[in-house]
């Protein structure tokens, strides 16, 4: 075969792949829609305003957490501490509110605490040379300890009614709960940042090939700082939302949420090897997981079995996702 002929074939194959990729990006959305349709027909209660609003609330916090986690995973890193940060910052914001801070400064200070945790992560990774897994595993353990020390193991009850009402309120009754509005509030800027700014491009480049990015003039250390602070700040934000939702602050809350966030991100098409992912994928991923749990509840599936089913589904979804990546 001549060089020209083989190149023409190669070009045709690449174009075909590009078209297929565009189609497959819709598969998650189709999967979610399919789940909703099936549940709407198989249960009486699924497609009611109350349940939909409830589902959107349930999925919101993991969705926000997963968006933050995705920034880190795109750089080929991992942040295991996000669940612990949620628990820890729920204590911080509850403590601040019970000590007379108004809502806005209390939330702001909590976010700054999250920012500081992210800076510490990035420092450990870039300056101390610790693997992201170890660095965030260590803070995951330590933060829960610090949170329990602050309250001496007790829970702090939030008495500020305006704060706790927020999470049960609606932005647009009856379809848009405030909590889901927060997903959009975090998600839309995240989408713009990740897909339409140069720092977003740099995150992908760092995850794809750190050395090539550095040799192209990208401040790779700076990008690590950005990724881990974004992850920690969104986790702190979720901590505030959780405190609002359950009305208490305690460091043992949000146990295992980091794994749910990672699972949501991966179901949403993020590659744990870095450089592949989006801002909308994790949101879809988390609502797929939430829908499965919600549907299983309505269908009266034993909650122990739900865990088994969720684990199994993660394997299936990610396997097929990997399969289509290979094929196209």
């Amino acid at each position: 075969m001549s060089v020209e002929a083989s190149e023409a074939l190669e070009l045709a194959a690449t174009k075909r792949r590009a078209r297929l990729t565009a189609l497959f990006n819709l598969t998650l959305l189709i999967l979610l829609a399919l789940l909703w349709v099936v549940l709407a027909f198989s249960t009486k209660t699924f497609f009611t305003w109350t349940n939909i609003a409830n589902l959107l609330r349930q999925g919101s916090m993991i969705a926000i957490l997963a968006i933050g986690e995705t920034f880190v995973i795109i750089t080929a890193g991992i942040d295991l501490s996000v669940g612990a940060i949620v628990g820890f910052t729920s204590v911080i914001v509850a403590w601040l509110l019970t000590h007379g801070f108004p809502i806005f400064p209390a939330v702001l200070i909590t976010l700054v605490v999250g920012f500081g945790i992210g800076i510490f992560h990035a420092f450990g990774i870039t300056s101390l040379g610790l693997p992201p897994f170890i660095m965030t595993l260590a803070t995951m353990t330590a933060l829960r300890g610090i949170g329990l020390l602050i309250t001496n193991g007790a829970t702090i009850s939030v008495t500020n009614a305006a704060f706790t009402d927020f999470s049960i309120g609606y932005f647009l009754y009856p379809i848009l709960p405030n909590l889901f509005l927060m997903v959009l509030l975090v998600g839309i800027p995240s989408y713009v940042f990740l897909h339409h700014t140069r720092f977003g491009r740099y995150l992908f480049a760092v995850g794809s090939n750190m050395e090539a990015a550095r040799l192209s003039g990208v401040n790779t250390r700076g990008m690590i700082y950005i990724a881990y602070t974004l992850s920690a700040v969104t986790a702190a934000f979720v901590g505030v939302l959780l405190a609002s939702r359950i009305g208490i602050g305690i460091a043992t809350q949000a146990d295992g949420w980091e794994l749910q966030a990672i699972a949501s991100s991966v179901i949403g098409g993020t590659s744990l090897f870095g450089a592949i992912g989006s801002a909308y994928g994790p949101v879809l991923g988390s609502f797929i997981l939430t829908t499965i749990n919600n549907g299983a509840n309505l269908l009266n599936v034993n909650s122990f079995w739900q865990r088994v089913i969720t684990g199994f589904l993660i394997i299936v979804i990610v396997y097929f996702d990997g399969l289509r990546r290979k094929r196209i």
């Binding site: 060089v3 190669e10 792949r17 700014t197 140069r198 491009r201 740099y202 480049a205 003039g217």
Partner: protein
């Protein structure tokens, strides 16, 4: 010597060389007949006929890319051969897997140490053949036995120490010791002395001579011709995948080996246009840094400066320093006539120096990202309007480079990994053109690319030069660096030892001179 046809008659006639030394009467332990290897379009080994006599030390010499490593990998079963036959003690053998080669008693000591750094010397020596009792490892017994063996070999190495605590040279000796352990009858050394100290070389040579006395056949591959003369009985020369000749070492000299290594066909004239030189871009004065000393060169617009030398000669270290990876310790760099301080890569990038690294995959490209992102990576700041990247500016910048550098890609959003090697190379160049680089450093630009792609890369050089850039070219392949360069600098042991203004036609005598300078005969 019953297998008459196995004699390398063609090669003898071609080179008029009748001294291939088959007169000793020793039986061949290994005979290669028409051994052939292709990697896709690349013909790495072309019908090699070669006999190895039992108990000889047989040196193989040749330039980089002559086919030495391919030959070793065929003999050790790492690659299957594409054609030809191999006879072990007169019987045809497949050598399809490393396991088969080891089973016959063929072993190799590679240039890079392939042992486990986190295990002890003894554990490495016994790896795969551990001493056990009731399913438990006999650590003490293994260390004692390993120590005795090392002492017997004349190596002063601690058997109980972790391998990683040894120097590279000492690790190389451990690898050699390991290779002698397992019933080895045929042992291949690939550039074993590259990292050894003088004393370690002496220890290794003593081992090799002792192995020979014990009847082991040795293949010894080295760039250091003086070692060939110290050690080997016979020497074979490979060139462009072909066997040039096999001679008795006693009947040859270094100069004639060098002539054999580079004597090539004249049809390999490389693409080069005459371009008039412009003003000076970069000048170094007695630049000194890690691995090189007192290097003074000058690059002008439209000029290709070639740097030639063996691996470890300091040419790569020199350009790394120009690019800010290892800051200089002495001397000066002038950029456009003004002194420049290059401490970090970003200083070099800001000046307009671009490095097109040898390993595109490791250092040059984000393979699983789109072509456009790779092309625009250094200029996203410029493409950003207010906060957001302008999609129009981004596409336009990428498309311009795809057109100008003639990158063959389905679209700007295709992944870089979907492109051919040559086109990936062009992305790296296009990236820096986008950034406005004036000086391009090409580190081994043609390794691992086929002939057609090479021609493309050479055309790219001409385009860069016409566009007002200068080029520094590093290549271990002498004809390439010689033909493409306007000035060729030869490095040896960290110093610039000679400079040549090249013409455009290969001149065999000049090749000989350059290779001699680089080897330092």
């Amino acid at each position: 010597m019953t297998d008459g046809p196995l004699m390398n008659r063609d090669a003898q006639e071609r080179d008029g060389d009748n001294r291939n030394g088959a007169a000793t009467g020793a039986a061949p332990i290994l005979a290669l007949k028409g051994l052939d290897k292709r990697f896709g379009p690349t013909h790495a080994l072309k019908s090699v006929d070669l006999l190895f006599e039992a108990g000889e030390i047989h040196a193989i010499v040749g330039e980089n890319g002559a086919g030495k490593s391919t030959l070793i990998k065929l003999l050790t079963g790492v690659y299957p051969r594409s054609g030809g036959e191999v006879y072990w003690e007169g019987r045809p053998v497949g050598l399809a897997t490393p396991h088969e080669a080891i089973g016959l008693g063929i072993n190799a000591v590679h240039q890079e140490v392939v042992l486990c750094p986190h295990l002890t010397v003894a554990a490495n020596l016994f790896l795969g053949e551990e001493k056990q009792r009731f399913g438990l490892l006999q650590h003490g017994a293994m260390v004692r036995e390993a120590q005795k063996m090392l002492n017997d070999l004349g190596f002063r190495l601690p058997a109980g120490a972790l391998l990683s605590t040894l120097t590279i040279g000492q690790q190389q000796l451990v690898a050699a010791a390991r290779a002698t352990m397992r019933g080895t009858r045929f042992l291949i050394f690939d550039e074993p002395t590259a990292y050894l100290t003088r004393r370690e070389v002496a220890q290794l040579f003593a081992l090799i001579r002792r192995l020979k006395q014990n009847g082991v056949t040795i293949i010894y591959i080295s760039h250091r011709l003086e070692e060939v003369f110290q050690l080997a009985d016979r020497v074979s020369i490979l060139r462009d995948g072909q066997l040039v000749s096999t001679r008795r070492v006693a009947d040859t000299d270094e100069q004639s080996l060098i002539t054999g290594m580079i004597n090539r066909a004249i049809d390999q004239v490389h693409y080069k246009e005459t371009i008039s030189f412009g003003p000076e871009i970069l000048r170094t004065e007695k630049l000194t840094g890690r691995g090189f000393q007192d290097v003074s060169i000058r690059v002008r617009v439209g000029e290709v400066i070639g740097l030639y030398g063996l691996i470890g000669a300091g040419r790569s270290e020199f350009v790394q320093s120009l690019f800010g990876r290892f800051p200089r310790t002495g001397g000066q760099i002038f950029w456009n006539g003004k002194p420049a301080d290059i401490r970090k890569e970003k200083d070099a990038i800001a000046l307009g120096i671009a490095l097109v690294p040898e390993s595109r995959r490791d250092q040059g490209l984000c393979l699983n990202l789109p072509v456009a992102l790779n092309l625009n990576l250094p200029i996203y700041k410029r493409l950003t309007k207010v906060v957001v990247i302008s999609p129009f500016a981004e596409s336009a910048a990428a498309d311009r480079q795809i057109r100008d550098v003639q990158i063959k890609t389905a679209s700007r959003s295709a992944l870089a990994s979907s492109l051919s090697g040559g086109n990936q190379q062009k992305i790296v160049v296009g990236k820096w053109l986008n950034h406005g680089a004036k000086l391009f450093i090409f580190d081994e630009p043609t390794t691992g690319v086929d002939v057609g792609t090479k021609a493309e890369i050479y055309k790219l050089f001409a385009r860069l030069l016409k566009a007002g850039a200068g080029i520094i070219l590093i290549s271990s392949y002498l004809p390439e660096v010689y033909d493409l360069s306007d000035t060729l600098h030869v490095f040896r042991r960290g110093r610039l030892v000679a400079s040549h203004d090249s013409g455009h036609v290969s001149e065999k005598t000049l090749h000989e001179t350059i290779l001699t300078e680089a080897i330092g005969v």
